[in-house]
Amino acid sequence: MRRILSLFGGAGGLIGGIMVLLIVADGLAAPLIAPYDPLQVDMLSVLEDPSPAHLFGTDQAGRDVLSRVIWGGRASLEVSALAVVIGVTGGVALGLLAGFYNGGWLEQFLMRVLDAMAAIPLLIWAIALVGILGVGPFTVLGITFGNEVKLLVLLGILYMPTLARITYASALGESRNNYVAARRLQGVGSFRIMVSDVLPNCLSPVIVQATLLLAIGIIIEASVSFVGLGVQPPDPSWGNMLADARNYLFSGEWWLSVFPGAAISVSVVAFNLLGDGLRDALDPRHTAQALTA
């Protein structure tokens, strides 16, 4: 038990981890656990209070809120996770290169590129993107992408500067360590050293940041849906469910906003707990051994 606890950096991390696992399981198993079809309209059961038949009530089109929350989780997670994957891939690559090949033109060039990427705020990009590609599925090179792809690619790109900087800082420091010099003395090529020796030592802060970005992604998805960038109705996402629920905030149909809102909050807390726990687990453990000095 102690082993598991230390792996997650304490009780908080473990709880966060379990919660994240449940959320992911929910997303994966959506078709199996949702009691109703989230898109099924039933104008006879509009805006019903939560009841045994509809545990979370129904929305303005008679659709079961519980099923929509379950399916919505899948959509929100998909966007959030894929964005993080894109961000990590690009960010780590850029940061690693800049940090390892430091001192030259490459470092300066990459840092300035990152600065440029970080300079423009999300909303401006979002509006511009919608302006160019319109709302709804789009086709590039003969492949059709769903609307949410715009968002997750955009988010991924916007995550890159942060992740790159974190990686850059680690890479800069680690590249100066003597174990890198020792590998050079063995005649090993620079690129190989960068990937097999330096990269593994740069990942812990990135992993921590990535879990936190997962949390942020869910919230961002919720907030840009009104621009037309998130998951488009009738497909549910926690974000667009909240956006729809705005009209019913003061008219008494509390279940339309509370359940998706709670789902977002719980997920954000879960990812944050996990991220904090991982941060504690991954870093001081290795340096704590230095106590024998």
């Binding site: 174990y179 010099a181 063995q186």
Partner: protein, 326 residues
Amino acid sequence: MKADAPPLMMLQDLRKTYRLRRSAADRLKGVNRIVTAVDGVSLSIQRGSILGLVGESGCGKSTLAQILVGLLPPTSGTIAYDGASLAGLSGEAWRAYRRGVQMVFQDTASSLNPRKRIRTILMEAVTARGLAGKARAERVEALLGQVGLDLQLLDRYPHELSGGQRQRIGIARALAMEPSLLVADEPVSSLDVSLQGQIINLLRELNETLGLTIVLISHDLAVVARVCDSIAVMYAGRVVESGLPRQVLSAPAHPYTQALLEAVPRGLERRDRKRTVLPVEQGDTPGGCHFRRRCLHALAICAEVDPVLKATRQGQAAACLLQQPS
């Protein structure tokens, strides 16, 4: 160790300078800020010998070490390895040099990749040397034996080992390349005195059994005295004295070496300590003899002429105008 055999490495007038960042005012004035880490060093390293390189921080010994192993290119001067100048080397000859000159580092914690097990670290080294398949594991075990470590360490991570054990792994890793020259940069400074001998003795043994040439860099004169065949004292980027340890340490010719010896604590001998304490170092390195501002015997001429390393009576060499007949 045959003195007439050609030296394994020859350094001629080696120089390494760095350009510092300039402030706006500097740029306007056209001032170049240059730091000279190595300022005209000429050394020859005899095969099979142990050379001690001694000096305090900032003297350039670490920079020199990095140039020796090829991690830093010199700004000017020549280095010859096994008779051939490094400048022209490429392909197989360069690779031979690369393998042939290896280094052991001072900080054991940062010299081993914290995320790799000892087995991985050594296997990588052995693979880099060109071995493959089963031969690699055998060689790794042999290397561990050579440095006196137990096989069970293979599965551990560096932070699970003691400083001394890590240092031995560093040596094993270097040995994996089958080098002719090992540069040991302060290999025992971070270890307890009672354990330093284990590493130093290991190096001696390797020198005796394998004929491994060693450059031992240390600030500890006593250790160097014990183990080295010849010694070179550095100050401000220059070699100020060189020769046999016995001579240099008992009858130092250069004022800096004299000051260094004066400064070594000898409380255990219980001498009445009337130490002449060296005046504090100030400012940039002066022209002429770099040591003149702190030297008790400095003359006016010391500011104008760069002293060159020349032989003194007993066979050591000192870079001091006072030692040379004018």
